[in-house]
Symmetry: C2
Subunit: 219 residues, 2 copies
Amino acid sequence: MQEQETHALSMQGVRRLPYYLKYLKDLQGEGIQHVPAAAIAGSLGIYEVQVRKDLAAVSSHPGKPRVGFSVDGLIADIEHFLGYDSANTAALVGVGHLGTALISYGGFADYGLDIAAAFDRDPERIGRCVHGCEVYPMEKLGAVCAEKRLMIGIIATPAEEAQGVCDQLVAAGVRAIWNFAHVKLRVPEGVLVQNEDMAVSFALLSSRLAQALRDAKTE
Amino acid sequence: MQEQETHALSMQGVRRLPYYLKYLKDLQGEGIQHVPAAAIAGSLGIYEVQVRKDLAAVSSHPGKPRVGFSVDGLIADIEHFLGYDSANTAALVGVGHLGTALISYGGFADYGLDIAAAFDRDPERIGRCVHGCEVYPMEKLGAVCAEKRLMIGIIATPAEEAQGVCDQLVAAGVRAIWNFAHVKLRVPEGVLVQNEDMAVSFALLSSRLAQALRDAKTE
């Protein structure tokens, strides 16, 4: 039951989690132990029914009448949901423009996410430090992933190298792949793949705009 | 009715459109005028019911019994849906690592999408040609967008510059914004915004992995 609810959290819901987390940590800092859903809703400008729905999806600590939710309990549950305790650090392969942009991206910290190591086969890039992230040669992939316990692999290589890199990441113990290459990857059962297909995203916006322009014409 | 159906096409459906388009254009090249849904399904390895659903969502040309779909009609409808005739070219602002990665991205052509001009305020970048795309100074935004009739703006600037750039794009006549900056944009009514939030995408994968690891433990 809990699992189903967990899966039910929408993209929008995931987007709200860092705000809950920040608010709850502020309360924790002030020594507050319980908070009612209405107070969370009021402070963050979210409908109370939405707050209850979001928290039910990520937390096994139900709020108690008149007392509210346990602040410590909610923080632990949200961090657990986001994988802070197991799945929040990644290895990135391919330190070209896209890889560098990802390493430099400021938004990951809000979700406790971290690119802990980068890899490339280009000797020019190896040994450099990009925004605090060291670039290792591909030969060190297995050792570094094992040492840092990295379970997420980010593929930012050209499409023709992506499958080979994916195989190396899986062999290095990675259990989830975030794929930016414009190619369909083959992975063993049990390994998650999330494709970030920029073309599909662009095409969606283009079709939405085309629709809006048609609507405007017929109005 | 048609509008609702058009909106109903899923991300997966949009992803399939280039395959339909390529197949249909091959038929057109061979002089074939009609094709049954079963033939499309068989050639592309997609269930026939799915083919019918996808095509109903984008096309106002229903297939006829025994004859099938009009090849020319379907091509026109899919291209129209994807905005080939109005909304397929974009202006990109911010030619840093992310902007350069987007301009260099090979996947857009499959959907008939094109980044037709790039803009930056850095004199070092202005005048350069990145993968066939000229980099203009910000002052030329209005003139170039008008001349090339660009209605999509891609924001690949740092977060603190994004709102100002967005305002300039809207003033230049852009009707849809594809925003990569980690910031919420204000736009006038009628302007579409699609946020590409890398952090939310990474957080989703991380939470899916955390869930999979929990499931594996309890098995």
